[in-house]
């Protein structure tokens, strides 16, 4: 026991003597950007999606010499901190980036849970924070002053595909069955499907939530027996892939499969091959969109090409949203003409600049709401319905946003 004490003592003294670096305000001529996202753990897949978006922003900015402020260019450096997919680690990660690394601002995590743990820390240290991915409406209800988001809340996004099915296809389907996976994001998506289905006059035959990791066959069988016209599902990529496999096995043939999110990821397309065809989803951005931007990437096509050159994959909207988060900071910095390292006045000015921001990027309009239930969430985008046609995602609605007519109804599995 004596030895135990001695060891504890020496560990404590060691901790005591750990050099306390990074507290002084240093001089530097580049912007230090903290990134907190999930690089390991359950959400590592999504974390990598955001990381790619942030990386592409930083690399492109640096290739052009940096962010131009009053004629001088300042490069950006990203400092990553893994949140291990848990809220507690997200808080430690933020604390580390802010107090040890002295970052100027923060690009936020993939998931909503980790974002909700990070936001109060950003609030405490008064550090601007934009998440390029989190879609949970809960974040915006809390009205965090220092937290912004480039992707509209999932409750808005999910409506687009239901609206398309209500207005742009004939014969108009009548019934819908909805399944959600029991995590915060997927459940919101499922609820949004349900709300907009009721609004559009569909009859909701079944609304069910299943825990992540269970076998979805019984649910598909139960829904199949009800013969719904539309099957809508809120989930992440893994469940989305498994669901289509099960639907095919069980010969479940609704007139339309609607999924959010997951169907936009490359793994969905690669894993399912031809079976991905006809699946409908929603997105706020696709590489085919016609936005004309003044900043960084001129249009979605240029972004998609840069993305493919760097990562060898097609980009999807979460990648784009993450890159746009960087662009929002870039533009706001230019507006307030702040030089690195940012002082506290600079950071507060940055917040006001972000609130006033209204720019057109390759990702579309970025304009943060300054009141209401979606406080500080991007209000400039219109969600579109998308569908796999010939192995590619195309916009099929709603209304004027349609580029190609939706293929409807989905042929049964044996006639494909």
């Amino acid at each position: 026991m004596k030895k135990g004490f001695k060891l504890i003592l020496s560990v404590l003294i060691l901790v005591f003597l750990i050099p306390q670096f990074g507290l002084a305000q240093e001089k530097r001529d580049f912007f230090k950007v903290g990134v907190v996202t999930s690089l390991s753990g359950e959400l590592a897949f999504g974390g990598t999606v955001t990381k790619r978006g942030y990386d592409l922003w930083a690399d492109t900015v640096n290739a052009l010499g940096g962010i131009e402020i009053e004629g001088k260019k300042y490069k950006v450096t990203l400092v990553y901190a893994d949140d291990q997919s848990t809220p507690a680690t997200a808080a430690v990660a933020a604390e580390r980036l802010i107090t040890q690394e002295n970052v100027d601002f923060i690009l936020g995590p993939y998931a909503s849970g980790t974002t909700l743990a990070l936001a109060p820390i950003a609030e405490k240290y008064k550090i601007p924070h934009i998440t390029g991915s989190a879609e949970s409406p809960l974040i915006w209800k809390r009205k965090f002053k220092y937290t912004f988001g480039t992707i509209p809340a999932v409750s808005l996004i999910a409506q687009a595909s239901i609206q398309t099915l209500a207005k742009d296809v004939t014969p108009k389907p009548k019934t819908v069955a909805i399944l959600g996976i029991d995590d915060a994001f997927s459940k919101f998506a499922a609820e949004a499907f349900k709300m907009s289905a009721e609004k559009e006059g569909f009859k909701v035959l079944k609304y069910d939530i299943v825990p992540e990791g269970s076998d979805y066959t019984p649910q598909v069988s139960a829904i199949k027996a009800l013969k719904p016209d539309i099957f809508a599902m809120g989930s992440h990529e893994k469940a989305a892939i498994e669901m289509i496999k099960i639907a095919k096995e069980l010969k479940f043939n609704p007139q339309a499969f609607v999924q959010h999110y997951g169907m936009t990821t490359p793994d969905f397309r690669k894993g399912l091959g031809k079976d991905a065809e006809f699946v409908l989803g929603t997105s706020v951005w696709t590489p085919n969109m016609k936005h004309q931007a003044t900043l960084l990437f001129k249009n979605p096509k240029e972004y998609a090409n840069a993305f493919k050159a760097k990562f060898g994959d097609e980009p999807e909207y979460t990648n784009a949203g993450s890159t746009a988060a960087g662009i929002a900071f870039q533009e706001a910095l230019r507006m307030i003409k702040a030089k690195p390292p940012l002082t506290q006045e600079n950071k507060d000015a940055l917040i006001s600049a972000l609130e006033k921001l209204n720019i057109m990027t390759f990702y579309g309009q970025v304009k943060f709401a300054v009141e209401g239930d979606f406080y500080h969430c991007n209000a400039g985008l219109q969600p579109v319905a998308i569908q796999y046609q010939g192995g590619k995602l195309v916009e099929v609605g709603p209304g004027k946003l349609q580029v190609v007519a939706p293929k409807f109804p989905t042929p049964s599995w044996d006639k494909r």
Binding site: S214, T217, A222, E249, L250, D267
Partner: protein
């Protein structure tokens, strides 16, 4: 009525998959008293190995089943000395040692898989994928059905081996009384190695089946760990024939709760049943466990 029959079939087929994962685990627990936390990781590694074999050599994934069995049998044989060391000798609490050691192994395997193969979700397809048999209004997915048959077949083979061959009888004797068996000249350590390798081989082999049905990623193992625990508890720990009945019951439970009660109560029901069974009859529903 149609839905009822379909639910029944779904349940039986889910049960078949649970049998595949639970059978090796039950053997491993029954003979060596090891609760292997890494059971799900064997499934995951099997799925990834199958995926690699398919992407290098092509062909249908199902023909690699025997190859996978051999690979994982050898792997199990190689790892066993470590496990034997962890649970034997002057250890305070062999159960805890085994649990913690295999817990370490599972973190190691998960971390390794993440570092090597990354986060992507892989899929493999066989010629059975997406096909199904129609039986009137009932649909029987072909791949799941073959998984079911596979599970039953493996169980029967193992039972034949354990009850009809000399080696098998030695293994059962060891399971019943380790000291006595060792006095009668059985090399307990070798028997253990054989059992562990069999377990690793069977479980790794099932990975490719599960990978084809669902999807392959580094964290896929956890849920099979849960299922393996369930089935072994319900069957009575170490009682091999019970695994079939327990697997089917669990499959039916999931299926019927999912359809008639609500999907969200799916897992709660499973855990409640498992907890309840342990309290009421720790030796399993057939009261035949050790």
């Amino acid at each position: 009525m149609e839905l009822f029959l379909q639910t029944l079939i779904d349940g039986l087929l889910i049960g078949g998959l649970i049998i595949v994962v639970g059978i090796g685990f039950s053997l491993c627990f029954g003979v060596m008293h090891i609760v292997d936390f890494a059971v799900g990781e064997w499934v995951m590694l099997g799925a990834f190995t199958g995926f690699l074999l398919v992407s290098y050599f092509g062909q249908d994934p199902m023909i690699y089943l025997p190859v996978l069995f051999i690979i994982f049998f050898v792997l199990g044989w190689a790892i066993y000395p470590l496990i034997y060391r962890a649970i034997s000798g002057k250890r305070h609490n062999p159960v805890l040692m085994g649990l913690v050691f295999t817990f370490g192994l599972s973190i190691l395997a998960k971390g390794g898989a993440l570092s090597i193969w990354g986060y992507h979700i892989q899929s493999i397809t066989t010629w059975l994928s997406g096909k199904s048999l129609a039986l009137g209004p009932i649909t029987i997915p072909a791949l799941r059905f073959s998984g079911f048959l596979f599970g039953i077949l493996i169980t029967l083979l193992l039972m034949f081996f354990l009850y009809k061959t000399k080696l098998g009888i030695t293994i059962r004797a060891t399971a019943q009384d380790r000291e006595m068996a060792s006095l009668l000249g059985t090399d307990v350590r070798k028997v253990g190695a054989l059992v562990y390798s069999l377990y690793a081989g069977v479980t790794g082999m099932s990975g490719i089946l599960i990978g084809a049905l669902f999807s392959i990623h580094a964290a896929m193992g956890v849920k099979y760990c849960t299922l393996a625990f369930f089935v072994v508890v319900l069957a009575g720990m170490g009682y091999i024939p019970g695994v079939i009945i327990a697997g089917l019951i669990l499959g039916l439970l999931q299926s019927f709760v999912g359809v008639y009660v609500g999907g969200r109560y799916n897992l709660v029901a499973l855990f409640m049943v498992m907890y309840g069974v342990l309290l009421i009859t720790p030796k399993g529903i057939l009261r035949r466990g050790i």
